[in-house]
């Protein structure tokens, strides 16, 4: 582990990283634009320059070299001494900020990036209050570069992160630089818009408000948003995301750094796939049906109603006539509580793995093409074909519980065998097919726990609203078997109650549900749930 001296302070750092990364890891706010740990190093913004001690060419005595060098391009070496707190370094930062703003339109009041803009932040720290340029600004165009993204060229700092992302990570190379010098612009090739399954990341890595997400455009000022750490439920990769929300509404998802899982990225499907959570067809209150009588019970009475109805079925038809269909959209904690409840009233109840949605084929990035030169070995991002977050977690729990376990097909084939079924949905897309409707058509007691309205609602004796993942907390087990916790971002819609909470009560616990609390209970029973994997916190000043 190399030890370097940064601004007179000894710092231990990881091998092979740049001095800039070491400084950021160490909590230093070294300004930088072009450097991004997930992209190649171009050292062109010249904002991260530092002073370094080097042997004098003649006397060989160590001293501060007269030339400033890019800290992003310099790899740490044991014993190296550098500094950022000197006059020449700070004079360069200040001069750069003046340069960056010369042609900038200063339209922060109407810019989505305002509040999370590194041009604002660095200008505030190093810039001057007034422009010394009295001449006309270079006016660059605003461009529509693809179905989801706009490019306001006049705000660009030419860091080329976006171009490198499209080339190196997506492998699709839609972006390029046209023109030279002060007239250089980012652009797409004529007739080839920025349209790849990962394109949204360019908006995230653009350090300024040049690349804009059409979906979020003018929706909300970013300082009004609260970010909650979460896991994307779009596929089984389990990308770490941040849910940005305000007033119980989710405005956007952003990837969170999670090395080895999603690194710095996420796909567009996940990014824009959350819209269903605000769908008007959400089931928002519990329903209890007895004959033709339909009531909305008080939530306080729900656990007793359900327990009583199940006990009745077990008495009349036997415990082996009970089945619970678990959904791969459930959190592990919720599934564990539900199993605990069911097996408590019906020890022989069958545990069924609900439908596992898949779509198309797994997609890997950078996409391989004759030009990209990417080989099978350099996969940097994967979008899975399995479009749910927690099949593995549910399978682990079903396996751990033992007894009768069935696949969903087996369950459907045994239609007529069940007297009481608890069926969990929670799928973002319609999932109920004829076989399922038929399988439950004759059951005496159907408890449906679901998110969106479907044909099953009419058939169910009890309907429980399921909450969207942003309204719950718990954990998902991803494709590599990592148990990844996610936090609640917003509250459930009026009338609904968090699944975890009513399941907690049903399973006989008192007080408030929390994923963490239930994980503690689970770990006592199941070794495999003792270790959770949390994404590390990224250095505060890295971006």
């Amino acid at each position: 582990m190399p030890n370097v001296i940064i601004d007179n302070q000894e710092v231990d750092c990881r091998d092979g990283i740049s001095v800039l990364q070491a400084a950021l890891d160490n909590g230093r706010d070294v300004p930088h634009y072009c450097y991004h740990p997930g992209l190649s190093v171009v050292a062109s913004c010249r904002l991260c320059l530092m002073e370094m001690k080097m042997p004098h060419p003649k006397t060989h005595e160590m001293g501060w070299a007269p030339k400033l060098i890019p800290s992003c391009q310099t790899i740490v070496r044991d014993g190296m001494e550098v500094r950022f707190n000197s006059d020449p370094v700070q004079a360069n930062q200040k001069a750069c900020m003046e340069f960056f703003l010369l042609n900038h339109p200063l339209d922060c009041p109407v810019c989505d990036q305002a509040g999370e803009c590194h041009l604002q932040d660095y200008s505030y720290r190093f810039g001057r209050a007034e422009s010394r340029m009295v001449d006309q600004k270079q006016v660059n165009p605003k461009k529509d570069i693809g179905p989801s993204t706009l490019l306001y060229q006049d705000r660009c700092v030419m860091c080329t992160r976006c171009v490198r992302f499209a080339t190196e990570v997506a492998g699709t190379s839609e972006l390029c630089i046209v023109n030279r010098g002060g007239r250089a612009e980012i652009d797409v090739f004529p007739g080839k818009p920025l349209d790849n399954p990962m394109q949204g990341n360019v908006v995230d890595i653009c350090p300024v408000g040049c690349l804009l997400d059409k979906d979020f455009l003018f929706q909300r000022r970013v300082w009004e948003l609260t970010g909650s750490p979460s896991i994307c439920p779009g596929c089984d990769r389990g990308c770490a995301v941040r849910v940005d929300h305000a007033d119980e509404k989710v405005y956007r998802l952003k990837p969170r750094y999670n090395p080895g899982v999603n690194d710095w990225w996420m796909c567009d499907e996940g990014r824009f796939g959350f819209k269903y959570i605000h769908d008007a067809k959400r089931i928002t209150s519990p329903i209890v049906r007895r004959g033709l009588d339909v009531t909305t019970p008080d939530w306080r009475d729900v656990p007793d109603i359900i327990r009583f109805r199940f006990e009745q079925q077990v008495l009349e038809h036997g415990a082996d006539k009970v089945a619970v269909v678990l959904s791969p959209f459930m959190a592990c904690e919720e599934a564990w509580l539900l199993i605990k409840f069911i097996r408590g009233v019906a020890p022989e109840a069958a545990l069924v793995m609900g439908p596992v949605p898949t779509e198309g084929k797994e997609q890997t990035f950078p996409v391989r093409s004759a030009n990209s030169g990417a080989s099978e070995a350099d996969v940097r991002f994967t979008i899975s074909a399995e479009k749910c977050p927690n099949r593995r977690g549910i399978e682990m729990l079903i396996g751990g519980a033992g007894g009768t376990t069935l696949s969903f097909d087996e369950f459907n084939e045994q239609s007529g065998a069940w007297s009481a079924v608890w069926m969990v949905g929670g799928y973002p897309k319609p999932w109920v097919d004829k076989a399922t409707t038929k399988a439950v058509a004759k059951v005496n007691l159907l408890v449906l726990q679901d998110l969106l309205e479907s044909d099953l609602v009419a058939a169910a004796s009890i309907v429980l609203p399921a909450c969207a993942w942003v309204e719950r907390d718990g954990s998902f087990v991803n494709a590599s078997g990592l148990i990844q916790p996610f936090e609640r971002a917003i509250n459930p819609p009026e009338g609904a109650k968090r699944d975890g909470q009513y399941l907690f009560e049903l399973a006989g616990y008192e007080g408030l549900y929390s994923g963490e609390r239930v994980r503690g209970l689970m770990a006592a029973e199941l070794d495999s749930f003792a270790k959770i994997a949390e994404a590390p916190t990224a250095p505060a000043h890295a971006h």
Binding site: F99, M133, M158, G181, R183
Partner: protein
């Protein structure tokens, strides 16, 4: 003063000098035959002891550069820098036009010394005729067995291609050149790795200027001692000088690096003095990038060292452009600023923004709408862009700032006087219209 016996230009004026036949009949292609009998290391040693310093602008010793190539390399590439885009500079052009085989012979020698398998000539896009002249000479050399497989019947083989640029100054910078050769944008690369280790197509690469390579046959023919005997100690060998502007005989002349700027302008066998009794106001002696001299400073020696004594960046391309007292220095300033403003490749912040800002300011000053404080902003911007040592990826900002800084500093009274003599209110009026 005794006139210099031409070495690099010895075939200038000879009829049909571009043909292989004429070149060979005047002793050409003998040096390369001798080289092929010697070991590459031996040739590098000879060039090192001749202290042949690069003629492309930086003056780095060629032999030393070659010895940076990794010992265990299996493939090496040679790039011949014929991009010659520095304003007032046309030494390479004259060499290609008058003696393309001398360049080809020098190229084969360098390729042999560095054990390069391929030599790429990167040629300035505007060189149309020169391209055809060189291509014809290369075809002749191939036909004669001097290029291609087993040159001169030896074990050594080298291919030679000409690649034509598309009109970017920055593609003369060696790593911009390499990127451009690879078919990419001509954006200079960050170093390390240096081209000698990882250059064109990620292979060890040497980049040398046309004139540097054209010296090689003579070093081999007459020996390093003869070469170092020409001119001052650190500036050995023949050198081409260009002179342009209002002189009687603008052109390209050869000499030792013991001449002064005054010699270049005034000697009968060179510029032949100012035309029509015009007076010198300023001289840019090394291409424009090195900076400017006042009329009092033209005793500066055109060698690798003296320019620094005058606040200049270096010898540069040793191409002088003379500005007479009738010329408005504001238009000179503007012309310079515009060049770099349009030639910066645009990747580094200081260079991209600094060159375009200086261009805007200089343009406005030339429009008669300057402000005295603009001169201070120009100086400060030049400093903020980094001047020796630079702050950016390549040397272009050094070249952009030296002429502007030296012009503003050395001619501040004249520039201020011109600004103060502007029509009153003009600066404000122009700014109002522009903004």
């Amino acid at each position: 003063m005794a006139s210099f016996e031409p070495i690099l230009l010895r075939n200038r004026g000879v009829e049909n000098s571009t043909s292989l036949e004429v070149y060979a009949s005047r002793g050409g292609y003998q040096a390369v035959r001798k080289v092929l009998q010697r070991s590459p290391a031996d040739v590098i040693e000879e060039v090192k002891s001749a202290n042949l310093r690069g003629r492309g602008g930086a003056g780095f010793p060629a032999g030393v550069k070659w010895s940076f190539l990794p010992k265990d390399r299996t493939r090496t590439l040679l790039c011949v820098n014929a991009d010659e885009s520095e304003p007032p500079t046309f030494c390479n052009r004259v060499l290609i036009e008058t003696d393309p085989h001398q360049l080809i012979e020098g190229t084969i020698i360098a390729a042999y010394a560095t054990q390069s398998q391929v030599a790429y000539v990167y040629m300035r896009g505007e060189f149309h005729e020169q391209f055809h002249i060189l291509q014809k000479a290369i075809d002749e050399a191939y036909a004669a067995g001097y290029l291609g497989k087993n040159v001169f019947g030896s074990e050594f083989s080298v291919e030679c291609y000409v690649h034509r640029g598309a009109g970017a100054y920055v593609c003369g910078e060696e790593t911009g050149l390499i990127e451009s050769l690879e078919g990419k944008r001509g954006w200079p690369r960050i170093k390390p790795p240096f081209p000698a280790v990882e250059g064109l197509f990620a292979l060890p690469t040497v980049v040398n200027n046309v004139e540097t390579l054209s010296c090689l046959p003579h070093i081999i023919e007459r020996g390093a001692d003869w070469f170092t005997g020409i001119g001052p100690a650190h500036s050995a060998g023949p050198k081409l000088f260009c002179v342009s502007g209002p002189v009687n005989k603008p052109g390209c002349y050869e000499g030792a690096m013991d001449i002064t700027v005054r010699d270049l302008i005034e000697r009968d066998d060179m510029g032949g003095g100012m035309m029509d009794g015009k007076e010198i106001r300023a001289v840019f002696p090394g291409g424009i990038s090195m900076g400017v001299l006042t009329a009092d400073e033209i005793n500066m020696k055109l060698d690798f060292d003296d320019p620094r004594n005058f606040g200049l960046l270096g010898l540069g391309t040793a191409a002088a452009v003379v500005v007479d007292t009738d010329t408005d220095l504001r238009s000179v300033l503007r012309n310079i600023a515009r060049f770099y403003g349009t030639e910066s490749c645009g990747q580094c912040t200081q260079c991209r923004e600094g060159t375009s800002w200086m261009n805007k300011i200089a343009t406005r000053i030339a429009m008669g709408a300057g402000r005295v404080e603009d001169l201070d902003i120009l100086l400060e911007t030049a400093r903020n862009m980094g001047m020796m040592p630079g702050l950016s990826i390549c040397g272009l900002p050094d070249g952009a700032t030296f002429p502007i800084e030296t012009l503003v500093k050395k001619f501040r009274p004249e520039l201020e006087a011109a600004i103060l003599a502007q029509e009153p209110g003009r600066a404000e009026a122009v700014l109002n219209v522009l903004n």
